[in-house]
């Protein structure tokens, strides 16, 4: 009997505990309601990608020496490099170059390893198309200059949280020239150089 | 609107129930037929309650009892049908001859 009563008591205790936890959860949810919404009204407003953003890859045809390093460092050997070997000059001549962005994982290895810097990351991320074969960019498509969010007259560019001025939480209505919080990369670089002038 | 109308309807429902009870080969339909018969009886009780004993409502009390029993009957009946189905893999009334020699 006593054992049974203890069981009932334990069960009731657990029920109360559960109710307490649900109450705590409710208070957390309720607390979220007074936070600032993080919504970006996408087609009308766009976030400015950061400097290191790894978007669509830009390719400069004339710089390429068809060394195929990009293919070797690519995790899936994605870039397609087509060249002829010119016997006279003993150099490879690039015929075509393409990357399929439906398969690319945007790891940036090819950009990192390219000996002539003919590959670079852009801040372009809107690659949607009606046909997945359109995602296979040839050297012409890869060579197009990326569009910039800040240049589009239809779009209100918004700064990301890390790029807002000090104390500012809402990207709306922040003037363009306003300085971001913290030091800029070039300032850090300058400081470093100033600290070690001999190296 | 007379007592006889309701009694006739109840009789018709009862006869439909009996017909279904005897002719159905699906065990679940037999259960449904039993429910129909119980409902016919209920209708009789309610009609008598309204026309012969409107103040005492004894017929209604009895109907409440019948509804209670019908719920119990349906639960047990379905449990039996389910266990027969598990054992014999059919719900054909003609195949339920376990107790026949």
């Amino acid at each position: 009997m006593l054992k049974f009563l203890k069981k009932v008591g334990d069960y009731a205790g657990e029920a109360v505990q559960a109710a307490k936890y649900i109450g705590q959860g409710l208070s957390v949810t309720f607390d979220h309601m007074q936070r600032r919404p993080v919504t970006v009204q996408y087609p009308y407003e766009k976030l400015i990608p950061s400097e290191r953003y790894r978007g669509r890859i830009h390719f400069e045809y004339d710089k390429c020496i068809a060394c195929e390093v990009c293919v070797r460092v690519c995790p899936i050997n994605l870039p397609v490099v087509d060249y002829d070997f010119n016997k006279a000059t003993k150099k490879k001549e690039l015929k075509s170059y393409s990357i399929d962005f439906g398969v690319c994982i945007f790891c940036g290895n090819c950009v990192e390893f390219c000996p002539t810097n003919c590959l670079s990351m852009t801040e372009e991320y809107e690659l949607a198309s009606y046909d997945r074969h359109d995602l296979n960019f040839d050297s012409v498509a890869l060579g197009r200059m990326p569009y910039k969010v800040t240049d589009d007259p239809m779009v209100t560019p918004l700064r990301e949280l890390a790029y807002l001025p000090k104390g500012e939480m809402d990207p709306h209505g922040v003037p363009d020239g306003e300085r971001r919080a913290g030091r800029r990369p070039e300032e850090i670089l300058e400081e470093l150089e100033g600290a070690q002038p001999h190296s | 609107m007379q007592l006889e109308y309701f009694l006739t309807i109840a009789a018709a429902l009862f006869c439909i129930g009996i017909f279904g009870l005897v002719t159905s080969r699906n065990a679940i339909r037999v259960l449904m037929s039993i429910e129909l018969m119980l409902n016919a009886v209920n209708l009789n009780l309610m009609a008598f309650s309204n026309y012969l004993d409107p103040a005492g409502v004894r017929g209604q009390v009895f109907t409440v009892f019948v509804i209670t029993i019908a719920a119990a009957e349906a639960a047990v009946g379905l449990a039996i049908v389910l266990s027969i189905y598990r054992n014999r893999d059919t719900i054909d009334m003609e195949q339920f001859n376990l107790l026949k020699w």
């Binding site: 649900i22 959860g25 409710l26 949810t29 309720f30 979220h32 309601m33 936070r35 600032r36 919404p37 | -």
Partner: protein
């Protein structure tokens, strides 16, 4: 206790004064409250849908609907219009009759249940003696419609969803009815008006919430489960069952399910307000206030103010409860089906029975506080 404003009486009297016979006057009156309630319920649903989307958005640090109308208030209307104009699809190997009747069977009982919701002493469609029992009876029809649409969709997810919905509905009907029974026992009447009247007179202190805290919790949990709201939305759990019994539905038929679920939520919140939160009773007793001000409660303008305040109070309580339901939705994770049935049969049912026994005991011991 004021009888409050009597719309029906004054309307019929006005028509009789116009030279109509009493029978005709009554016949003209009958459809009016029904129509009003239908419109009211639909508008209530629009408001609830908007609130749900806005509160959900706020809880997730989003904005929510914003462009359709001021603050997105027209968004539910836009949704409804979209569903109305969508193509009416009946998938090939379904059973077209059952497929069509199913959603209607889910919605109609819910709307019928509005018959018994009181907004004031005389501000309801009918003051049935059957009252709250009618709601319990009507709400038990819905699982048939769910089973019907689940079966007729000819889709395993639909069938599983329908069976789950029926099992859940039946399991939680019992604690729900037991919780209601405890309230009914205290007020000696099934009529919703009597239940509210029994709570009036002492402002917030007289509400059933203080006398039936356990019953309130049981009722609210069971009502959420009956509405298939989120901690208990297993019949349409999208991670496991695609959309349960709604999987094959589109357009108008889907809109019926959608409407039904939100009307049901509003109705449950209304009934919680009526059963446990004093219905149209203001937190401070109006009778006491008017007595303090030395006003006659029969003054016409005072009666109108009281009636309007009553309606507003009911609505405020209802939407507060809806708010709580939405908040719960984003707080509590979905339970598993066995946990759901465990909660219903092994926790709520014994607790509801104990609550009923306790109420009966208290009623005999303290008849003054627990309705002699």
């Amino acid at each position: 206790m004021t009888s409050g404003i009597d719309l029906q009486g004054s309307f019929i009297r006005a028509l009789i004064d116009l030279g109509l016979s009493p029978g005709v006057a009554k016949a003209i009156w009958i459809p009016l409250p029904l129509l009003l309630m239908l419109i009211g319920a639909t508008i209530g649903v629009l408001v609830v849908v908007w609130l749900e989307r806005k509160i959900s958005a706020a809880a997730q640090q989003r904005v929510g609907p914003e462009f359709a109308g001021p603050l997105g208030t027209l968004q539910p209307v836009a949704d409804g219009v979209k569903l109305l104009f969508k193509e009416d699809i009946i998938p090939a190997s379904t059973d077209p009759w059952l497929f069509t009747i199913g959603p209607a069977l889910v919605v109609i009982p819910v709307f019928l249940s509005y018959l018994i919701v009181p907004f004031g002493q005389n501000l309801n469609i009918t003051n049935l003696g059957l009252g709250i029992f009618l709601w319990i009876a009507l709400s038990s029809i819905a699982p048939i419609g769910l089973l019907m649409s689940g079966y007729s969709s000819n889709n395993k997810y639909s069938l599983l969803g329908g069976l789950r919905a029926a099992a859940q509905s039946i399991s939680y009907e019992i604690p729900l009815a037991l919780a209601v029974l405890a309230v009914v026992m205290m007020s000696n009447s099934l009529s919703t008006v009597d239940i509210v009247n029994q709570q009036t007179g002492y402002g917030i202190l007289g509400w059933n919430l203080w006398r039936q805290p356990l019953g309130f919790l049981i009722f609210w949990i069971a009502a959420l489960a009956e509405c298939e709201r989120l901690p208990f939305d297993l019949p349409e759990a999208e991670e496991e069952l695609v959309a349960g019994y709604q999987t094959e539905y589109a357009g108008m038929r889907f809109a019926l399910f959608y409407l039904g679920s939100y009307v049901n939520l509003t109705l449950s919140a209304l009934l919680v307000a009526v059963l446990y939160l004093g219905g149209w009773e203001f937190p401070i007793s109006i009778d006491w206030l008017t007595g303090l001000a030395g006003l006659d409660p029969a003054t016409p303008w005072l009666q109108i103010i009281t009636a309007a305040l009553g309606i507003l109070t009911v609505l405020f309580k209802t939407y507060l409860l809806v708010f709580l339901a939405v908040l719960l939705r984003w707080t509590v994770p979905r339970v598993r089906i066995d946990q759901l049935l465990d909660l219903g049969w092994k926790f709520l049912l014994p607790v509801a029975l104990a609550n009923l026994l306790l109420t009966a005991g208290l009623k005999i011991t303290f008849p003054a506080f627990f309705g002699g």
